[in-house]
């Protein structure tokens, strides 16, 4: 097995899972397909990079790239731990801010004026353009460039990959901090979402508000607050994805950060993950995102080896588009629908359990 392909694909797949989750969550609660979602990650990445650079500058820290030996192998930690913690927190905070600005600044006022789903969807595209423009302006800001340049991060195409924590094991295997972080993140996310949704009152309220808003309201549940919480979670996960994009540019299909990249390329894959997971399933979206990440890189890789034509790598997005087409044609409810078994029952001709009929 190609270890490097596996780790970088895993990081990429985790980014997709985080983004697909955000897209699905927002679709389930506010019924908006948020095309600006991947861009929220870029806002978070820019904010994180800037504040990490400021932190390094203010403490006078210089990147230390000499490896130390540890029980895992030779370990390189270029900056102190606070540097990375600041990055994660800032990314999450700015992801949330960008998401809430979108919801309260644009979508909510439009909804109040009676905008339908299509109008809201186009409004998310408009917000996306607005963010691109804002990031471009920010990019060319002299002070920002100076700060970022001081620790060696160019501001028009940013990457902090060289400052990622790395471990080279005695066997020679290369493990990056982003890889470990992404694996832990996905596991934690799955577990905490499960606990939130199924073990807390807030979670039950969330599921109720998603399923039947008028009834939830009649029972005195603040549906509006539930929507706000889902936008906050969506912003948090977008922020985490942004942090990974910053720290692991080059992993999978992740490109260095700029106003447009990698959001422009990744938006297709993130939506593919959401659709394949079944647009109405939170856990489906995580699995769908991961799946898209893996097949998007592994299938072209196999094809390239099989045909001896490395050019085939360029067509990785075709794989995710095909996956979407197949899902919509044969299993429109996505993985979640398949797991529910409805499709299997239909396939094998078993009688459907009918709710509203005779016993």
């Amino acid at each position: 097995m190609d270890w490097n392909l596996f780790t970088s694909t895993t990081i990429y797949a985790s980014v997709l899972a985080l983004l697909s989750l955000g897209i699905t969550l927002i679709y389930m609660t506010t019924k908006v397909f948020n095309f600006a979602h991947p861009r929220l990650s870029l806002v978070a990445a820019y904010a994180a990079a800037t504040l990490m650079a400021y932190y390094a500058q203010s403490t006078g820290a210089q990147p230390n790239l000499t490896p130390k030996s540890s029980f895992l192998g030779s370990l390189t930690v270029p900056f102190s731990w606070e540097f990375y913690v600041i990055g994660v927190i800032v990314a999450m905070v700015f992801g949330v801010i960008a998401a809430l600005v979108e919801y309260y600044g644009i979508l909510k006022p439009l909804q109040r004026r009676g905008a339908d789903y299509l109008m809201l969807m186009i409004a998310t595209l408009a917000y996306d353009f607005l963010l691109v423009a804002t990031l471009f302006i920010y990019n060319t800001h002299v002070d920002v460039r100076k700060v970022l340049a001081r620790i060696g991060v160019l501001s028009t195409k940013m990457s902090m990959t060289s400052y990622d924590v790395t471990i080279v094991t005695s066997g020679g295997a290369f493990i990056s901090g982003s890889f470990i972080f992404s694996v832990i993140l996905i596991l934690l996310l799955g577990v905490s979402l499960y606990l939130l949704l199924f073990k807390t009152t807030l979670g039950v309220k969330m599921r109720a508000s998603v399923e039947n808003p008028p009834l939830a309201e009649v029972l005195g549940i603040n549906v509006e607050r539930v929507y706000a919480i889902s936008w906050i979670i969506s912003g948090l996960t977008a922020g985490l994805a942004g942090y990974l994009m910053l720290m692991a540019a080059g992993a999978g299909n992740l490109k260095p950060i700029s106003a447009t990249s990698p959001a422009d390329e990744i938006v297709v894959s993130a939506f593919a993950g959401s659709i394949i997971g079944g647009v109405n399933s939170i856990f489906g979206s995580i699995v769908g995102g991961l799946l898209i990440g893996y097949i998007e890189l592994y299938i072209p890789n196999w094809l390239a080896i099989w045909t001896g034509n490395a050019e085939l790598f360029k067509y990785s997005k075709v794989i995710s588009m095909l996956a979407v087409a197949i899902t919509l044609l044969f299993a429109p409810e996505g993985l979640a629908g398949l797991l529910k078994g409805e499709r299997w029952k239909k396939l094998f001709g078993r009688k459907e359990e009918e709710g509203v009929s005779e016993e």
Partner: protein
Amino acid sequence: MAEEEPIMRLENVNAGYEKLQTLFDVSLEIPRGKITVIVGPNGAGKSTLLKTLFGLTTVYSGKVIFEGKDITGLPPHERAKLGMAFIFQLNNIFANLTVIENLRLAGHDLPKDELEKRINEVFETFPRLRERMYQKAGTMSGGERQMLAMGIGMIRKPKLFLIDEPTAGLAPKIAKEVLANVKRLNEQGYTVVLVEQNVKAGLEIGHKGVLVVSGRIVFDGPAEQLLARKDLAKLYLGLAV
């Protein structure tokens, strides 16, 4: 309060949906502790009348009075706080939640032991729900769903239940069961206003009968009297006489 004092009253109400008027000069009293059954042909305004009681329509003129207070124009969630429970015809439960989750959700703002006590009361009234406690509500039969919808209402101990066509789309046997449950609800002391398309079965469990035709009240009196009025039955209800 005196037995005769009605819990709710409509005074010369003209109402409808936005600009489409469907109720004309309706005056009605809802007696406390009784089942009031609203019947009438399709499109007569039965559901509009029920929704007007809960504030789901536009009232152009007239007064809606609940327990002596003028509540015309009060939004539905405020009426819910005053002690009114509206059970929708469809989508009146959370299908993806379990039975117990549905009930806990209904009493989310109650203290924990009070909530458990009330859930127990629901289970005593509808023992079937206890058996289905951990089942997803959406997998239950139509009759059981209506049972749960009433249970959700009971958790909040409303003074008045407004139930919109609970038997629509159900097999006759199940429909009978649902109406028996409405009766059981009333026997627990709850006041009920019921809109029912099955005129005969509805009026049989009701105390008061109201016949609505073309947005006007044509009959308002004891349910058995309405049931006995062959002339009205023939004219409006399509009952075999």
